[in-house]
Each structure stands twice: as C-alpha cells, then as structure tokens.
Amino acid sequence: MRNSDTRSRRIAVLPEALMNAHLANAGLMLSVQHALERVGYGVIQLPPSGAPPEVVEIAVRFVVDQVQDYLKNAYEVVEVTLGSDADEASRVFRAACRSRGIAVPKLPVEPGRRA
C-alpha cells in the first residue's frame, strides 16, 4: 500500500439474494447491505440459488480465487449468511474454502426480520 490508497481492505462475500435485496423489499437485508457499504466493506456476490450446480461451482471458484488472494495480502474477508444456511452457493463457497484451507468468518443475518 502506497501514497493515497483509499481501499478499505475489508470485503464481505454476499449471497445473491442479499445483493439483490432491493428487488424483494427485504428491509433488513437491504439495511445490512447499506450498513456494510457505509462502514467501507467492498462486496463480492455469490451466484444465485437455483442455478445449475456446475455453473455455481465454476462461479464460486472465481470468488474463492479472489478471496484467497485478499487473505494472502492480509485483507479482512467475512461471509454474510442468511438464516439457516439454505443457500446452495454459500454451501459450495464454504466447501471450496475448506478444500483450500481457507477460513472465512461468518456474519449471520436472519432474513425473516424486518428492518
């Protein structure tokens, strides 16, 4: 890091439903996203639930590639999880991280609540 670097070095991995919470009038989820942005988190989006497994697996691989490099360079990375961890992409993400020996702390959100 040199000179006028404004990067926060903090990243949140988000489920697709949270990145697109504005489409579901999901008050708490949208508030969470805005709160993350206000405190300077950059976000990385996971693929949507319901997508073909092979498509999810490849997309997640690229997410984990980014996370691995950020962690190597001492960035903080958290994974925002929704409710009961039902999201398939989140499960694939966690499994991919485990297979590479990467630990990403969870930041749980309960999607049923309203802001």
């Binding site: 950059g42 590639d65 490099d69």
Partner: protein, 192 residues
C-alpha cells in the same frame, strides 16, 4: 417492485463498482462500494450480476498498474474467456424468463474493462516507473472477450456504460447524472 417478483432488467456489473478493493493501488475512489452508483441500479430495479474482476483474478491485489498493450496477450485473453463463460452461463440462467433490458457496466480508462475509452501506453514494460500513457477511444481486452463470449452463447447484446472513475476529468455528480440518463434510455428492449 413487489416481493416475489423477478426483475426483467439485468445489469452485468464490473466487480470494482461494488468492491473498490479490486482496484489497483491508488485508483480506488472510496473504501468499499460506490454506493450512490449502486443506488441508481437498485432504484431502477435492476438485478445485479457482479462479475469477477479479471485483472484481480489474473494478477492479484498487489499488481502494478497496466495498460491495454500489457493485457493484450493470448494468456490474459484465455483467462478472460474463462471468466466470461461463467458470466454467460449465470446470465443465461438469470434471463431464462425473459429480459427487458440488459446493461454492461465497465470502467472507462482501463486497459481491460473499458467499454469506450481505454488506457494505452506503448512504452510500458520492464522496470516499474512513471511512464506516459493515453486515454483513447477503444474497448479494454476483457470487454472485448466478454462481448464475444456473450454473442457465442446467443445472449442479448448489452447496452454498455463505462463508469468514468479513471478518466482524468472525472466528476462524480456528472457521472451519476449521465448514468441515470443511460438507465432511463431503455429504448432497445431485449424481449425474449
């Protein structure tokens, strides 16, 4: 938009708009996401598909600045096609029920992610030093490969907008006004 409905407006978003940590050192405009820009997409009911950052995934967070000539290699183009294939497969899933508007948001001034004004410097290479470079009309290498892969998958041709954050005369208020105007100009629907 009511809960449970699916938007038919889709945005392919350059990674760094939502995550300025993906920018090369000294090019971030803010610590994390460019929230005012994201808010325009949200208010217009676009389903956001953030793309992986091709530069970050190829060279990492500690990469040097690069110009178009340095990205224009068979290896980097192959990397871009690999990412673009993943983007295309996800997009095909997202628009399976139709698409009223598809937009691609790139980054002007970038040798990789520009949609209309790219960064070139024929002298760049070798020992890192502060060399002259220019911003000239043209697309970045990633955008060229992405558009080719989308076409190969018979996906709609996106309307493209380049966020001007790397241009020398950048002004955020003007950029937001231009982007709002771009979003409102949904005059070429991609009905499926």
């Amino acid at each position: 938009m009511k809960q449970g409905t699916r938007s038919r407006r889709h945005a392919l978003l350059s990674n760094c708009i939502a995550n300025q940590n993906a920018k090369v050192d000294e090019y971030a405009l803010c610590p994390g996401a460019i929230t005012p820009f994201m808010d325009l997409l949200r208010r217009a009911d676009y389903r956001i598909q953030q793309m992986p950052c091709p530069e970050m995934t190829f060279l990492g967070a500690n990469r040097w600045w690069q110009v178009r000539e340095q990205y224009d290699t068979p290896g980097y183009r192959a990397h871009c096609r690999s990412l673009a294939s993943s983007v295309a497969q996800l997009l095909a899933f997202q628009i399976k029920d139709g698409c009223d508007d598809l937009i691609l948001i790139g980054v002007e001034g970038s040798g990789s992610s520009a949609v209309a004004i790219t960064g070139v410097g024929s002298l760049w290479g070798g020992r890192p030093e502060d060399l002259a470079w220019e911003q000239v009309p043209g697309k970045g290498v990633w955008i060229e490969e992405l558009e080719a892969v989308l076409a190969k998958h018979d996906l709609p041709v996106p309307r493209a907008y380049g966020f001007p954050g790397e241009l020398r005369d950048f002004d955020m208020d003007r950029a937001l006004a231009e982007f709002a105007h771009f979003l409102a100009a949904r005059d070429r629907p991609h009905a499926q």
